[in-house]
């Protein structure tokens, strides 16, 4: 259902489009500019690695030329909703790794939290730098047929995509300079600065001039372009696990002139692979002793360990209740209607309506472990039915939505395609949301 075709901004041809719709009519000119844009990407090396291709050729990230336009008023609403959500999620994580009030008061079942694959009991009772339990979120938003924005899910581990937003904007400025100017598009270019400020803010307080690094799984990772892009933009070192060592619970990087201290790690590696002495022992990507260094407060990780418990799709279901519980407010942005198969009432509804629902595995991202009822065969549906009955905690279901569409350049013509939106939310000294986001376009 979801494919990766990023665009710059949003919305179908509506009131937001007076002058933009004029140039949409000139299709030939549009296609010429699409070509220009693709050439620019190739030259700039905005690529992703294709895992199956041993020739080392890299593909450019497909790019849809037609911008998604979000009017300021609509953005203000999204911004307020996302800020509220980030605030509540931070309080939730602080709570479950601390006092556990939300479980004790029965708002969220205790076993719901503890059975989450990404819950890390190792992190219980550990002070978070500056009281921040989560720093970066990439929530995925969709819009229904009534024009209402919903949160599809949060991405609180290592969300990616922001580098493509920044590169797309560079290309848009080159290809449509007038449009960017006339629409007074808000700049996204301050993102690397804001991210660096956030990372510096997390450093142990006694360190006057902290060193920040980006930890990558390596050049073969599909998101390596983004890792090296962000490291370059922020002017920080990009390191692999083997570059880091822990001595006396402090983290150092191996340099030619000796071991240089590291105070903040923007890690793009999942919890499981971070530290073989605590998590997966077979991980070669991580750093032995890193978790202990973190516990002692000698190094800060961004995102911290254990945030994944809050982007478990079953946990997303409870976010409106978290907002009510911690903030005493109603959620500004509703969730997409979700059924929990671990809830008996919901379970019988799910099993009755499987052909009409989208079923997702709670721990997977990127469309893995997913059933789209209306597009599935009887056999596939029965397979999922068995899996759901065996492991109800592992699945959630959502109705298929009449998602909003946006015109897209499809080979030689324009077609309406379903879209989503992933803004990037930073939780540092204040909550900062880049005014824009990654829009992915369904290829069918």
């Amino acid at each position: 259902m979801k494919c990766s075709r990023p665009k710059v901004s949003r919305a179908p041809i509506t009131s937001a489009w007076p002058s933009a719709s004029r140039w949409l009519e000139n299709l030939r000119e549009l296609l010429r500019r699409q070509l220009l844009a693709e050439q620019t990407f190739l030259r700039r090396g905005v690529t992703f690695t294709v895992y199956s291709d041993d020739r080392g050729t890299e593909k450019i990230f497909p790019f849809d030329l037609i911008p998604r336009i979000i009017p300021a008023s609509e953005w203000a609403h999204l911004e307020a909703g996302l800020t509220q959500r980030m605030t509540a999620l931070n309080l939730f994580l602080a709570d479950i790794y601390g006092e556990q009030r939300i479980q004790r008061e029965g708002i969220i079942p205790r076993e719901m939290v503890e059975s989450s694959k990404h819950f890390r009991p190792e992190m219980m009772g550990i002070a978070a730098p500056r009281g921040l339990f989560v720093h970066i979120n990439g929530s995925d938003l969709v819009r229904d047929e009534h024009g209402v924005d919903h949160v599809l899910e949060d991405n609180l581990r290592t969300p990616s995509g922001v580098s493509y937003v920044l590169e797309n904007r560079q290309v848009m400025k080159r290809v449509f300079p007038n449009l960017v100017r006339d629409y007074r598009v808000r700049p996204v270019e301050t993102y690397p600065n804001d991210l660096l400020a956030l990372l510096m803010h997390l450093a142990p307080e006694h360190v006057p001039d902290p060193t920040v690094v980006l930890l990558t799984p390596g050049v073969f990772n599909s998101a390596y372009f983004e890792h090296s892009f962000l490291a370059r933009q922020m002017g920080i070192e990009i390191v692999e696990g083997s570059d880091l060592v822990v001595e006396n619970d402090r983290v150092y990087m191996r340099r030619t002139d000796g071991l240089a201290p590291v105070h903040v790690i923007y890690r793009r590696i999942d919890d499981d692979f971070l530290d073989p002495t605590v998590f997966r022992a077979d991980s070669l990507l991580g750093v032995p002793g890193l978790v202990e260094a973190c516990r002692k407060g000698n190094v800060a990780l961004c995102n911290p360990i254990g945030t994944g418990v809050a982007d478990d799709k079953a946990m997303d279901y409870y976010v409106p209740r978290m907002i009510r519980f911690y903030l005493g407010q109603d959620a500004i942005l509703p969730n997409v209607e979700t059924f929990l198969s671990s809830d008996l009432k919901d379970l019988s509804y799910i099993l009755e309506h499987l052909p009409k629902l989208v079923v997702e595995s709670v721990n997977e991202a990127g469309g893995y472990g997913m059933l789209v009822g209306p597009h599935s065969t009887k056999v596939q549906i029965e397979e999922f039915r068995a899996m759901i009955i065996d492991h109800p905690r592992n699945f959630v279901a959502q109705p298929t939505l009449g998602l909003s569409r946006c015109p897209s350049v499809c080979s030689e013509q324009l077609e309406g395609r379903h879209i989503d939106l992933r803004p990037s939310i930073l939780n540092g000294e204040t909550i900062k949301i880049m005014p824009g986001g990654l829009t992915r376009v369904a290829l069918r």
Partner: protein, 328 residues
Amino acid sequence: MLSRVANLIYWMARYLERAENTARIVDVNTQLVLDLQSRQAADDPRSWMPLVYVSGGDKQYQKLHGADITERAVVDFMLFDRDHHSSMVSCVSSARENARCIRDQLASEVWEQLNSLYLKLREDDYTRYAQLGASEYTMRVQTQIQLIYGIAESMLPRNEMWWFFELGWHLERADNTSRIIDVKYYTLLPSLEAVGSALDIVQWAAVLRTCSAFEAFRKSRRGQLNLEPVVDYLLRDESFPRSVLYSIRQGGMALDCITTEAPHLADNPAQTLITKLHEALDQTVVREKIVSGLHEYVDQVQLDVAAIHAAVQKTFINYSTDGAKLLN
């Protein structure tokens, strides 16, 4: 600079230089065999085996080809065999893999040129080599690699990255030039009397040409084209950039630049060893080495270079973290 990154750039330079010299070594042997003039000698498989010996790949060759020694099998092994890690193609491919890992830190032109060389070589094989002829083919590859050096030299900032590039580049060249001298040593002359004969002279000229040193040697007014002056030139010339002594001096300068950045590493073992080798080369009397065994002498030079390499690794790259300097 990160040790891993330093090691990648250091090895990238070594692999490139090795690829170039492997092409040169194949070329020199082709010339030597041609000059033997007698068909019988030229077809003698033993004329090709020296290549495998000097590149240090005899064990692997045996594993892959057994006792089967032909021109085709040896050239294939030296240039195109992907299972032979020191073949030209393997070296270019390793250099390219290293460059890929540090692409964002290299000048993009360096990466692009190396990548296109790699893509071009993937199509090549013995048939293509035979079509163009040894000289033409190896010359083309050498020119492509020279292009990468040229781009690197004019684009890379003179910081640690460059000094590690230079260090790997020159250590490998010192090693490789000594091996080229060795090829001639292994090439049998028809009889003992042939030493100093017309054939001998022609062969030494071919060795010089392979090192792009023929004209330079002539201009250096060292006199006759025979064993002693040619070996002395390739081993010890102060100004010829492919001589062993010159390469070691350049490598030493790169090492000094690296160390200047880290004063606590002054007088590290790598520097000590490189200074020692430079002095030894400076004081070498080639005539004596010829008497006591030239092959044994160049073998020792190669071992000395290997010891410098090991010391570089231990000082800058995979040093033990116990007792390593903790920086502020």
